[in-house]
């Protein structure tokens, strides 16, 4: 039984510190023992457009966001216009009282489709098109309003600490908002100051005034706001818990797995990983001198994959990180890595396509493209992680697959994961193993890089190694790597390369291929980041006595047909849940398992699924009132 389940929302124009505000809030709550699931939504824009962060806080493990928001804090009008209707009836809104008269027309970042919908709604409620209007609606719904003048807060503070500069620092509104929120819910403020120090560690002066502002507004809320229905005073801390951002799993996984070369071209939401790797480019090595990761920002994604392959040929574990449009540019070279049996890992942080699509929003629409990427037949592995913690260990597995089967591996992540901030079990590097397959340390006698062998995998030399000279070509080649067009060699080489797909299916442990979270009459199949909201929805239904099964498929290509079949034999109704339009996993599933999908739950608004939405659709399915395609749309 979850005794605390509280969602806080902070919004504001991009560039106003929404993210640092949310990070401080998350850190404070995590320090008080709560589990955190935070998610950032933002426009493709540097300054001015609406961004917001929801942080869900619980004393039990949580893996998703929910629809309900319990407390919203806003220092701008747009946040209120866009989110007032998400606040539940005993929830609250802390807002800047000067905003009350702002009309929708004054907020020029409110786009007209949204404004039209809002106007219609307000008309139906007989309310003016102002902040006061929407707040009245919220109030009628039972939401408590906490108006406060951010300007006079700063004014009073500046007089109290005798620092006139403070009164005009609107950049501190985020810290005020966070602290007012914490004061209202009576979260102990011990770690508030430390968290601010963390966030502003490189700017001690700024940290100092932010700490003053934080303490001042925390106390203001405690002393002046009327009582709120939710108090979160802290719970027992769980041991070995860390608070991580979305890209930490794959970045830290790469460091530990021995990835020493990463090339990339900037693209949302993948570049954070590369920037993080470069920020930590010098590595501590046990009982040895320091190591390093060479991170190269290239001129385009074609160069990124070319450099990665060149580096991998030297025996270096090498990687690149990109998103759909960048991966599209990489497909020619992906085939080159395939025909030349080069182990590489491409971390694919998907976003919403097609083309540039919704460049800063979530999507899982690159599955089919990835499985079929590249011209010609060549083997590759497509692998997907379901959450951040998993992605750390999966990164280790992906490098091992690449080395053992000497093929490119595409590790699929997505924007939902990358812009999450969550608590999870501390990563354990010793649970990652390093298996370089048939990589040679030395060569004696005649060497043939592509020698025919019983298991289809040839011992691998590396550029610059003594006596290990070999050739590569994107043409079909003989055992040395020289061009051939001989029809018999062609058959043997194709068979040799393609045999790795069977080998991978035989030798990758079952629990790395797919993970069953119970199997029942109604069973979900899904992949990637939908895992979190699915298992939370599953738990919600279980409490009502409704059992739903769920198979998380991690190995997408080659598809683990027999294993998934065996898992699903007792399932009567199959439900495919994915963040794309066409149910792409369903297509792969039907192709391999020749079984119909009974229901699809799909979302392609670019916003991640909440467990509430999945719960609602699953309930309709069980009650037999669902459509074959349930299309979800929650989220601003």
């Amino acid at each position: 039984m979850i005794s605390t389940d509280f969602t806080w929302l902070i919004g504001g124009p991009q560039g106003s510190g929404v993210e640092s505000g949310a990070n401080i809030f998350s850190k404070v709550c995590a320090e008080m023992g709560y589990q955190i699931f935070g998610k950032r939504e933002f426009y493709s824009n540097i300054k001015g457009e609406h961004s917001y962060f929801t942080v869900r806080i619980s004393d039990e493990d949580i893996h998703s966001n929910v629809n309900a928001v319990n407390l919203m804090v806003s220092f701008d009008a747009e946040t209120i216009f866009r989110h007032f209707d998400e606040i539940v009836s005993d929830g609250g809104i802390i807002y800047d009282s000067k905003l009350e008269d702002v009309t929708t027309d004054r907020v020029n970042t409110l786009d007209s489709p949204f404004k039209d919908r809002l106007h219609k709604f307000l008309e139906s409620k007989n309310k003016p098109f102002t902040i006061a209007g929407v707040l009245e609606v919220a109030k009628e719904n039972g939401v408590k309003l906490y108006p406060v003048s951010f300007k006079s807060l700063l004014q009073t503070l500046s007089e109290e600490v005798d620092n006139p500069r403070l009164s005009g620092l609107v950049r501190m509104y985020n810290v005020l908002g966070v602290s007012l929120s914490l004061g209202l819910i009576k979260m102990p403020s011990a770690s508030l100051v430390d968290s601010i120090d963390d966030i502003f560690s490189k700017k001690p002066k700024i940290a100092e005034i932010n700490k003053q502002a934080a303490n001042f507004s925390y106390n203001y809320a405690s002393n002046n706001f009327e009582n709120f229905n939710h108090t979160l005073t802290g719970v027992k801390k769980q041991s070995d818990t860390i608070l991580v951002q979305g890209h930490f799993g794959t970045s830290l996984g790469k460091m530990v797995s021995g990835c020493r070369f990463q090339s990339y071209y900037p693209i949302t939401p993948a570049s954070d990983e590369s920037v993080y790797l470069e920020s930590n480019e010098i590595l501590e090595i046990e009982n040895d001198r320091p190591g390093s990761t060479i991170v190269v920002q290239t001129e385009d994604e074609i160069s990124a994959i070319g450099m990665m392959i060149g580096a991998a040929l030297t025996g270096t574990r090498s990687s690149t990180s990109t998103s759909g449009p960048g991966f599209a540019l990489m497909t020619e070279a992906l085939g080159w890595a395939g025909i030349n049996e080069v182990p590489v890992v491409i971390t694919l942080y998907q976003r919403s396509g097609p083309s540039t699509g919704l460049p800063t929003r979530h999507g899982q629409d690159d599955l089919l493209f990835t499985v079929f990427a590249g011209c010609g037949d060549f083997p590759k592995i497509v692998y997907a992680s379901g959450d951040i913690e998993e992605s750390f260990y999966d990164t280790g597995n992906c490098f091992n697959y690449a080395d053992k089967y000497q093929i490119p591996v595409i590790h699929m992540m997505d924007k939902f994961l990358s812009s999450s901030v969550v608590t999870c079990k501390k990563f354990n590097p010793k649970k990652i193993s390093i298996d370089r397959g048939k990589l040679l340390d030395k060569v004696e006698g005649e060497y043939k890089r592509f020698a025919f062998t019983d298991d289809g995998i040839s011992p691998r030399s590396k550029l610059g190694m003594d006596n290990g000279v070999f050739w590569n070509t994107g043409d079909e080649s003989d055992e040395y790597g020289h061009i051939t067009e001989d029809p018999q060699i062609r058959i043997k080489m194709m068979d040799k390369r393609m045999s790795r797909l069977d080998l991978a299916l035989e030798s990758i442990p079952a629990d790395q291929q797919a993970v069953p979270f119970e199997v029942h009459d109604y069973t979900i199949i899904s992949w990637g980041s939908t895992k979190g909201p699915i298992i939370d929805a599953q738990a919600m239904l279980k409490k009502e006595g409704i059992d739903i099964g769920f198979i998380q498929i991690k190995l997408l290509h080659p598809f683990p047909t027999e294993y998934v079949k065996s898992l699903l034999k007792d399932a009567k109704v199959l439900i495919d849940i994915e963040a794309n339009y066409s149910g792409q996993l369903g297509k792969i599933f039907k192709q391999n398992i020749t079984r119909e999908i009974d229901y699809y739950i799909l979302k392609y608004t670019g916003r991640g699924m909440t467990s509430t939405e999945i719960y609602n659709s699953l309930k309709k399915i069980v009650q037999n009132t669902a459509a074959k395609r349930e299309v979800l749309s929650h989220g601003a």
Binding site: K27, A30, I242, L243, L252, V256, S257, G258, R260, F261, L283, E284, I285, E286, N287, P290, G291, S292, I294, V296, T298, E299, I302, S303, A304, G306, M307, M308, I309, G310, A311, A312, L313, T314, G315, T316, S318, E332, A333, W336, G396, K426, F427, P429, K430, I432, I434, R436, K462, L463, G464, M465, V469, F470, W471, N472, T473, G474, H482, I483
Partner: protein, 320 residues
């Protein structure tokens, strides 16, 4: 055993057309590697796509025959991961200055210590003679349906403008001179570029061996002289000796002006050299002090199948 020149040759059948200028380049490259005593397992020839792309198969060192236009990307990745190896990238002018032009410019900005040789013949040979980036506006080689509608790229000028720190031109029928240029280019500390004029006997009927040797000029003047001349035979000094802006600008400008010379007199030799620009490896060691002693390809990443990278400090900073 002392290596012989023959050790740098493979027995792969060479299927270039008889009389192809590429033969001279591959010979010069083998001679240069031999002369410098670079062991065959310490060098990698990266190549692009097209006739010139096959070069890596004829040289008995590591050979990586890459993708059209992308040779510099593979080569730079290899060199960065294993800076101990000698890297030479080769490709056609269509490969490097057409589809690969973006990589050409970006490589100049990095100045990684390696050599890039363009086999410059004005046509796309392997696809039957279409106009390539170095063919001049209005010229019509024999398989073009109509005169070329594009202006040409100036390879030397582009290299100088992009930041290559050694820029030279050779001629594939002067193998000994070309060999000397390759040796200089490989020994240069930084990214070196060699534009090699290379007649395509099958598809370029304008810039033929006879044309380069001035056979047509001889008819007019009754005096045979080659169009090709060597900058080192003139008082042209390509080398930047001081890091001062004035000298650098002067040397860059004279290289650019020289690169525009074409027609009856075509300069070969070194146009520009500046070893005062930091090579990329120095830019890396500035932030990763032991990069050259412990580069990616040499790093030990595991101990008995378990990782040896210690991220505990980072993990502890994430503790709550």
């Amino acid at each position: 055993m002392e290596p012989k020149l023959a050790d740098y040759k493979t027995d792969v059948h060479n299927d270039w057309c008889p009389g192809c200028g590429d033969f001279g380049i591959v010979n010069a490259l083998q001679m240069a590697l031999f002369e410098m005593g670079i062991e065959r397992d310490k060098a990698t020839i990266f190549s692009g796509i097209g006739c010139s792309g096959k070069t890596s198969h004829f040289i008995n060192t590591y050979g990586v025959h890459t993708l059209h236009g992308r040779v510099l990307t593979f080569a730079q990745g290899g060199k960065l991961a294993n800076p101990d190896m000698t890297v030479v990238a080769v490709g056609g002018d269509g490969d490097g200055l057409g589809i690969g032009a973006g990589h050409f410019v970006a490589a100049g900005r990095r100045n990684i210590d390696m050599t890039y040789i363009i086999f410059d013949n004005g046509v796309y040979g392997l696809t039957k003679g279409q106009a390539s980036p170095t063919l001049k506006l209005g010229e019509q080689t024999k398989s073009l349906p109509s005169p070329n509608t594009n202006s040409n790229v100036n390879p030397i000028g582009l290299a100088v403008a992009s930041g290559f720190t050694f820029v030279a031109r050779g001629y594939s029928y002067d193998v000994r001179h070309l060999k000397d240029l390759i040796v200089k280019a490989v020994k240069h500390k930084g990214l070196s570029f060699l534009d090699v004029l290379q007649p395509c006997p099958t598809y370029n009927d304008l810039n033929t061996r006879d044309w380069y040797s001035g056979a047509d000029l001889a008819e007019e003047s009754m005096e045979r002289h080659s169009r090709i001349y060597k900058l080192e035979d003139t008082n042209f000094d390509p080398t930047v000796n001081y890091a001062g802006e004035v000298e650098v600008n002067e040397k860059l400008s004279q290289a650019l002006i020289k690169s525009l010379e074409w027609g009856d007199k075509i300069p070969t030799g070194v146009f520009y050299q500046n070893e005062l620009v930091s090579p990329f490896s120095t830019r890396l060691t500035d932030k990763i002090p032991n990069y050259l002693e412990n580069p990616p390809a040499k790093q030990i990443i595991s101990d008995n199948g378990l990782p040896n990278t210690d991220i505990s400090k980072i993990l502890d900073s994430l503790d709550v």
